[in-house]
Symmetry: C2
Subunit: 411 residues, 2 copies
């Protein structure tokens, strides 16, 4: 018995039968003696429709009006879920961002939560009322509606859980947990029972889009245990059917490598014969940043000609045309410099908090790939992650080989 | 130059091109030097969809949640219209009911406006900002969203106009004004340039559904001049292209009869051989009221048998089956009493504030109908209206004959 925050995304509340299903899941938790606060997204498709309305009027719009328009989606689902709970005999009411209030800064369209005033909300929950909170939205200091940006409902849920000092935040989604690798590629992939915040963050940043990065950061900062689980499968008996994201201290058995992820959303750019003088990197990356192009892996090599250098980096695949355009302008007066690019690349990462206390983890990765004849184009590492860039056609082979090599295959 | 409140209904904001059209109309008023507050309904069909969602979950629902759900429709259009105005270079912002705030009582689903706090709104308008106000909604004293009931956006508009002491409230709709009769029946019907609040009220109550009755009552009480006009036709040159609803004192040329209206939404019930003792009427009408059945015309005749009486009354046609059911129970112990009913009836009314100072207005009506061989079943009168119930098949003939008889035909 305790206080749970449950979050349901757009596909979980896509229509009235889906909302009824969500109400049943909440009712089951109430039946187990838990008090519940539920955070909901808009019905799937609704937010896109509302955004399309705004864009149809003008490509460049006032984000204050945009926020008011798109926040209406969560307003609808919060009211409907409250009704569905009441039908099941559970006292419940909806809470909009401004009603709680969930106070944000005034950066409309991607606001950040500053404070959640829980007094009224806690009183309501304390009286046994289920709270259904519209996700994704808040209120700016001047009283205008704000939204937290795409996927912001995860952040709403974790922030509410932190503010209410909830025992757990359950994020219901369309997958039943976090896997050691994409099960569509590795059929022996296992669901991870417990994973640390740090690992989850790295997973999210390299393509396993189960949770919003911001929500994981917030959970880590506020030490909110988060469970990822499916709203479509029945949890057969288990108390914790999904993947629990927790502080690393609470994970007794640390794996050296927890998971292997891949991302095909990559493109590689190599610049050759750049003058090897201070300021060149800034000259290349400055204009990219100015154009909101996110650069990921960067490697600089010494070229045979000592006065020149080669630079390789990756960008999101969708950003490649824009990147080349920006580079064309930036490199105009760098005589002799040339650029090459390729979108046929894939980023493979191994992630594991145990890496910090073991040696030879990265070299095992390189050896495994070499044995399969897979050439490594770029390498980057962090404390708990090693990423390599390879030719896209080797993606599945690489992921499967590494999954086996690090002992992750299901028995 | 002055302050106008413009109200646009669901068909006027049905989609983005329609919203752009509305923005152009507002821009034209701004161009003429007016300051504008605009009240909008939800895109047509949206409110029905939201109501259907609530009903799909439960036939009996918490109206507080219902209000939060359906109020989202106006939230969307207010934001979109603000964007469309901004695109035209007009500074504008949306205002939700709770942001103004428009404070109502807590009768959710059909709340009444108690007060509109205009301080912030007036400051914004004073700075030259167009105010786009979500119609139909307000905020209850406890901070929950309320709605004003169907057609409530008209009431929102008039209330805002009163609170802002606006020079006029223009209600844009899909007709270009109020006519002397339904132009689909009487092709010589004329658009009325000016009509008094009292006449408009009677028109609304007998089937000319151009304005919500409540909004006209409020306009009369607060002396807000209201113009009904079309959002789809271009006003060619005229300053007041629609019908102006104003205080009778400001109408110089009073017609004896301003209009002829008809309603087919009627059903007649006759109860025979009721005991002619005190309390019988209460015994009949009490249970009808308890079942929310609205009784309109009532006539009681003396029956040949002095101890008995006959009673005829009308109800809305959709209420007839329920009415008969309720009467069956109510008349169980009234020995010998019988009931008859007919749905093939139509109510024809002549309305005119001039009636008060002329004699023979009603008798001309009866004579005109008699000359056409139309039998009058029931008569009721008010100070400025005479209504008769006739067989439905004579509807068009009756309306046309009366329209001619009272000199309303267009030259």
């Amino acid at each position: 018995m305790g206080l749970l925050v449950l979050k349901f995304g757009g596909t979980s509340v896509a229509n009235i039968p889906a909302i009824e299903n969500v109400a049943s899941k909440v009712a089951a938790e109430v039946g187990r003696g838990h008090k519940c606060a539920v955070v909901v997204s808009a019905m799937s498709g609704v937010t896109n429709q509302l955004v399309a309305y705004c864009s149809e009027i003008s490509q460049i719009f006032d984000t204050r009006e945009y926020d008011s328009v798109v926040a209406s989606g969560e307003q609808v689902t919060s009211g409907l879920l409250a009704l569905a709970l009441q039908k099941r005999g559970i006292p419940a009411r909806s809470w909009l961002g401004w009603q709680v209030p969930i106070v944000t800064n005034d950066v409309h369209g991607k606001a950040r939560i500053r404070a959640i005033e829980t007094e009224t909300l806690e009183k309501s929950i304390g009286q046994g009322e289920g709270a259904v909170i519209a996700g994704f939205q808040g209120i700016a200091p001047d009283g205008r509606i704000t939204t937290l940006g795409r996927g912001g409902s995860d952040t709403s849920a974790v922030a509410v859980a932190a503010a209410l000092r909830a025992d757990r935040c359950d994020i219901y989604t369309d997958v039943d947990g976090v896997y050691t690798a994409d099960p569509r590629i590795v059929n022996r992939a296992r669901k991870i029972n417990k994973i640390s915040y740090e690992e989850m963050l790295e997973m999210a940043s390299v393509g396993a889009k189960v949770l919003q990065t911001r929500s994981v950061e917030l959970a880590m900062k506020e030490k909110v245990p988060v469970q990822v689980l499916s709203s479509f499968e029945e949890a057969a008996g288990s108390d914790l059917p999904g993947t629990l994201v927790v502080d690393e201290d609470t994970i007794v058995e640390q794996e050296v490598v927890s998971g292997v992820t891949h991302s095909r959303d990559e493109a590689k750019v190599t610049l050759r014969n750049l003058p090897d003088v201070p300021g060149v990197a800034a000259r290349v990356f400055g204009p990219l940043a100015d154009n909101s192009i996110n650069v990921d892996m960067i490697v600089q090599n010494v070229s045979p000609d000592k006065a020149k250098t080669d630079l390789t980096f990756t960008v999101g695949r969708a950003d490649l045309p824009k990147t080349l355009e920006v580079l064309d302008a930036a490199m105009k007066d760098l005589e002799g410099a040339t650029s090459e690019s390729s979108a046929d690349v894939s980023k493979i990462s191994i992630i594991g908090i145990g890496m910090r206390s073991y040696v030879g983890v990265a070299s095992k990765m390189f050896k495994t790939l070499a044995e399969k004849g897979i050439n490594i184009q770029v390498i980057t590492t962090s404390e708990i992650k090693v990423s390599v860039l390879i030719a896209e056609e080797y993606t599945e082979l690489a992921v499967r080989s590494l999954h086996t090599a690090y002992g992750l295959d299901q028995e």
